[in-house]
């Protein structure tokens, strides 16, 4: 039963994909009338205008280009011509670095806030005000203080990954079942041991939920951040290809951004499953 359901789902997925590609192909195919115009003017306008063909590339064109991009992903021919693999690697590296720094700050701080009602109340106003700020709003400040565009992008990732991890860690730690804390107390576990063997594993599923949200947000933000700071990264690549008017490459980048985002999310999902427990 289960297998057949999965099989059916695969079939439907495939049908939807084919339908979408077909619709795309039909939508961009040349159906418009050929405009009669001065040959000189037609030359200027290019084939798109004269043959009634859309500037939007079709799926075949995009697929061919994608194949080209993926068959040589790591070439490097100067600052404005790098393989898609290199660009993605830059973005993933920035996200990883900013994200790790955020985890290093958010998890201990979340522990503190979760365990101390005093700190919870004292720091709550800061979190409430800082949390809703768009991470990109920090960018000018980061550029001015750090004076390095690449580091500024990492800072923006740091700041946007911080809040979900911080809030979830604090929540997870503060809602650890009283019984387990009491067991730790009656066993005279040291505070460090209690934190490691009781509170951390008990709060781990909640903490990982926060980390999963954070990695999602970080991947959303890196594209925008790289569009601003430029130089390298998939966000820069998208904007550069827009300036080059290569819609084909823009579409391919969108596709790859989605794929990498999915992989990052699945990775966190896997860790989340590993630390979750049934009560």
């Amino acid at each position: 039963m289960d297998l057949s359901l999965r099989f059916k789902a695969h079939i439907v997925t495939l049908l939807v994909l084919v339908a979408l590609l077909l619709a795309w192909q039909l939508a961009v195919g040349g159906r418009g009338s050929v405009v009669k115009m001065d040959p000189e003017y037609a030359k200027l306008m290019g084939a798109n205008a004269t043959q009634g063909k859309s500037a939007m590339p079709g799926p075949l064109e995009v697929g061919t280009k994608l194949w080209q991009l993926l068959s040589d992903p790591f070439y490097d021919r100067g600052p404005n011509d790098k393989g898609i693999g290199i660009q993605l690697a830059y973005s993933v590296a920035r996200v990883s670095l900013g994200y790790l720094l955020a985890a290093l700050v958010a998890i201990p701080l979340g522990f503190l806030i979760g365990m101390s009602p005093l700190m919870n109340r004292a720091l709550d106003p800061f979190i409430q005000v800082l949390k809703p700020i768009s991470p990109l709003a920090w960018m000018p400040l980061a550029l001015y203080t750090i004076k390095d565009s690449s580091l500024s992008a990492i800072f923006v990732i740091f700041i946007c990954s911080l809040w979900p991890m911080l809030i979830n860690t604090a929540f997870g730690v503060s809602t650890v079942r009283k019984d387990w804390i009491n067991v730790a107390k009656t066993l005279e576990l040291s505070p460090g041991r209690t934190a490691r063997s009781v509170i951390l594993p008990a709060a781990a599923p909640t903490i990982l939920t926060g980390m999963r949200i954070s990695i999602g947000i970080a991947w959303l933000v890196i594209v925008a951040a790289e569009m601003l700071v430029g130089g390298t990264g998939i966000g820069y690549f998208v904007w550069n290809e827009w300036n080059n008017l290569s819609i084909t490459n823009v579409i391919n980048s969108i596709l790859l951004i989605g794929l990498v985002g999915m992989i990052l999310d699945q990775l966190m999902g896997r860790i989340q499953r590993a630390v979750s427990y049934a009560e």
């Binding site: 019984d179 387990w180 009491n182 067991v183 009656t186 066993l187 781990a204 630390v275 427990y277 049934a278």
Partner: protein, 319 residues
């Protein structure tokens, strides 16, 4: 006469009270007050009372997890000021760590008791206590994979594995079905026969108290709950669930406890219990030959003395 509690007290509860602010915020309400009693070494001591009389709070104070508003507890010659490995708790919900196997749950306790032990020593010790509660086959399962009774067995193994001076049980079997509860009570009887572990148990189950306890402390209803009397278990020490009810003292004891819970715990609450001598509670030994109704109306006897319901000398009644 001096009761056994006076001879050599292992746990001494002195003038304990717990207050909470009123919901109105004006005054304070005593959940219980003036609670005095002693537990003797090797004894199985049980507290019965309706919910709201603060019996769980007394256990938590004894465990060091709660603090009294007034009074002190001395356990094993030391003032109880916090949790200790000398006092192990079996919690009402099993309170096992769900991310650990049964074995690791017990090992956590053992390693805390014996920080100097090797991994193998800890492992062997934990396995020994899991075998004691007949869990040798299921030690590597996580709590979610165990039945309710098995989880509580792990809880018992964890408490016993640290070899505490005092075992505290907070309605340990109340969440289990009757059959499982019975088999776990047998387990506790078995454990008692082997170790004569000093045990303090909270329950609201009269049959459980009769089966397990040596002495039963009865509390009046809360708020302002107080110690009403101490009932000595007049059933022979070697008890089994199967033929307990055949003993002639079974019904006198049971009726006395039930009557207390149904009517007297309420009558003695508040001003009705003003005459109670809380420092030297009446000691009752319900046995065949006297109905519990023959007990003199409360307050007519000089306090501090025993009320016998059995004409025989007390030492035979308690034998």
């Amino acid at each position: 006469m001096i009761g056994p509690a006076m001879q050599q007290s292992f746990i001494s509860v002195q003038g304990l009270a717990k207050r909470f602010p009123d919901p109105t915020g004006k005054g304070e309400t005593n959940v219980f007050r003036d609670v005095w009693f002693n537990v003797v070494e090797g004894e199985f001591f049980c507290v019965i009372g309706h919910s709201g009389c603060g019996k769980s709070t007394i256990l938590n104070i004894l465990a060091g997890l709660d603090t009294p508003s007034d009074g002190v507890i001395v356990a094993n010659g030391k003032h109880v000021a916090g949790p200790s490995l000398d006092r192990a708790v079996i919690f009402q919900g099993h309170a096992l760590m769900p991310w650990m196997t049964a074995r690791s749950n017990v090992e956590l306790a053992v390693s805390s008791r014996h920080p100097d032990w090797t991994k193998a020593q800890i492992r062997d010790h934990a396995a020994k206590y899991l075998a004691l509660v007949h869990l040798d086959q299921a030690m590597d399962k996580k709590p979610a994979q165990l039945s309710g009774g098995m989880r509580q067995r792990v809880g018992i193994a964890r408490a016993l594995a640290i070899e505490p001076k005092i075992l505290l049980m907070d309605e340990p079997f109340s969440a289990l079905d009757a059959l499982t509860r019975g088999s776990l009570q047998d387990e506790v009887l078995d454990m008692r026969a082997k170790t004569s572990q000093t045990t303090f148990m909270i329950t609201h189950d009269v049959d459980e108290a009769m089966l397990l306890a040596d002495r039963i402390l009865l509390m009046t209803n809360g708020p302002e709950a107080r110690v009403a009397e101490i009932v000595e278990n007049t059933l022979p020490k070697q008890r089994s669930r199967v033929d307990l009810h055949k003993h002639p003292n079974y019904y006198p004891l049971r009726n006395h406890l039930i009557e207390f819970l149904v009517t007297r715990s309420r009558e003695l609450a508040g001003v009705g219990g003003a005459h109670l001598d809380v420092r030297n509670p009446i000691i009752v030994r319900p046995a065949l030959g006297e109905t519990t109704h023959a007990l003199a109306p409360v307050g007519q006897e000089p306090s501090g003395q025993e009320r016998k319901t059995d004409p025989r000398p007390s030492h035979t009644a308690t034998a």
